[in-house]
Subunit: 314 residues, 2 copies
């Protein structure tokens, strides 16, 4: 396996895959990161070309683990040096990546991925062999996806301790806007609102700390994920603004916030009771497998142990 980018996610992936008995080598742009990885006993290089030549020779699975802005130049390298390798990514938006991969003519061997995990820290040293344990790892089941490549990435995610959530790229992005990008903007708005009120920071307790926790994330990271997903995020923002504006009007007119509070509590109760049934009985590669997996994912299903692959031995 070949990991391009040895930051928090790429570095953790290298550790987790190695711990699972896989052979892994990687590239990192900064010499510091490469040295740190090597010092920890990992096979890291500062040359993207040499790394990709190795990948091409061994037909290794290539994992794009660079930030969104660095993706196009990485894809240039892949196209030039290792265009036939199976390819996946770990980026937090999926439609924009898919588009970039398509523009680079690399769609045939590509399966988009997104492990839903992370910390507020970054770089090789922030990595953690257990980062993926129990986390949902989204794998795209878009129309173009090749069953053999899909199965290969599924095995990687399961080896790292994740559960696999199959999803269409656009549905992933809509969900990510609602459960990750919108919460970041709400946290920022809460922090700014309170900062303008004398005494507020003095009295802040649990609900403020919870509500602003993710506002500590580096602004560049928040911008990168929000701005690369502007369409779905816009829709989520519209929905939230509409709910808050309606509550504001009802508070002014009737002195009540009943509607928002009751529907919010009901939604939270549904979320807390949300079940994740195991996806079983679908073979990767059978007729309609992509649609079936997408439907099972929408229903809350996750893959906890490898699904069979049609036409595979063993």
């Amino acid at each position: 396996m070949c990991v391009l980018g040895l930051g928090l996610i790429g570095g953790s992936l290298m550790r987790a895959a190695t711990a699972a008995g896989r052979e892994a080598f990687g590239y990192n742009r900064s010499a510091d990161g490469v040295r740190a990885a090597q010092a920890d006993g990992f096979d890291a290089s500062i040359s993207v070309v040499e790394t990709l030549e190795r990948a091409a020779t061994s037909q290794a699975l290539i994992v794009l683990a660079v930030p969104m802005p660095a993706l196009p130049s990485m894809l240039d390298h892949v196209r030039t040096t290792a265009p036939d390798c199976p390819l996946t990514d770990v980026t937090s938006v999926k439609v924009a990546v898919l588009q970039s991969v398509r523009e680079h003519g690399l769609l045939d061997r590509f399966v988009g991925g997104h492990p839903m995990t992370g910390t507020a820290h970054s770089g090789w040293t922030a990595g953690d062999v257990g980062l993926f344990t129990g986390a949902p790892w989204v794998l795209s089941v878009d129309d173009h996806v090749d069953p053999q490549v899909w199965a290969e990435v599924m095995h990687l995610a399961l080896d790292c301790g994740s559960v696999v959530v199959p999803a269409k790229s656009d549905q992933h992005d809509a969900a990510a806007a609602a459960i990750s990008h919108l919460p970041h903007l709400l946290a920022e708005a809460l922090a700014v609102t309170a900062a303008d009120v004398p005494l507020a920071f003095s009295l802040a307790a649990g609900s403020f700390r919870d509500g602003t926790r993710v506002a500590a994330t580096a602004p560049d990271l928040v911008r990168a994920m929000c701005e690369a997903n502007s369409g779905p995020l816009g829709s989520s923002l519209d929905a939230a603004i509409e709910l808050l504006s309606r509550a504001r009007a009802q508070l002014a007119e009737h002195g009540s916030v009943a509607q928002l509070v009751e529907s919010g509590h009901a939604a939270k109760t549904r979320y807390d009771a949300f079940d994740r049934p195991q996806i079983l009985g679908i073979s990767v590669g059978e007729d309609g497998w992509r649609e079936e997996l997408a439907a099972a994912g929408r229903a809350g299903g996750v893959i906890r142990s490898a699904l069979p692959v049609l036409g595979s031995r063993g």
Copy 2:
């Protein structure tokens, strides 16, 4: 000390005051709560009249620890049976309580209070002797406030392990709207928004869990505190809606959320670095003491050990 209402806050107060060596007795409306308190060795009664007669005889400090809707009937009882006792409360809004106390002719001996603590649970059994440890406990320094009564409540709060934040009632309410009531409504709006997006609950992780945690609070409690503070909450809601709408427009027009994200991160950084200097050098009862304490509270100051009281011995 006489505690009216032995739920989460009143029950914890009874435990904490007793542990600090104070004599405490209390009233609770439900027989179950009274029995549970008695079984734990506390002096609890189901008769509000008898409890207040004891308070009047011993000139005990009366703590109103009933929910907002039960307050007027409690104040009727206090006026009838124990009108000269020092009086405080632990309610999460201060202007509405002040108004109700004034209407009952009980202002002279009243100092509003609000310990900024709690859990998602309620009732005597949810109580905890350590609930107040380290928590900010707001004490109102409104113009009418009597220094002797104020000092008595200050000692109670310090005995329970809290730090005292002096504040005007209206400034408390504005701050509470921003750091407590607004976060509840944002959490409700986030839960409702995500509930409408297929796949969202499936992918929800840390930022969604943090952002919706307080949406688990019982709707009646959320409504009670929000609706009793509708003026300041309306202003906070307006500010948050305005910030989100501006971010929405900039995302649509320029593909950027830079302004909100950067100002949010800056505000969060200021909050995390927020210092709580100890308030020293002010004597309760000296000329202008209320204004001085209010200014010190706005500046982030807290009282960690008892301030001297003018005209007191010892």
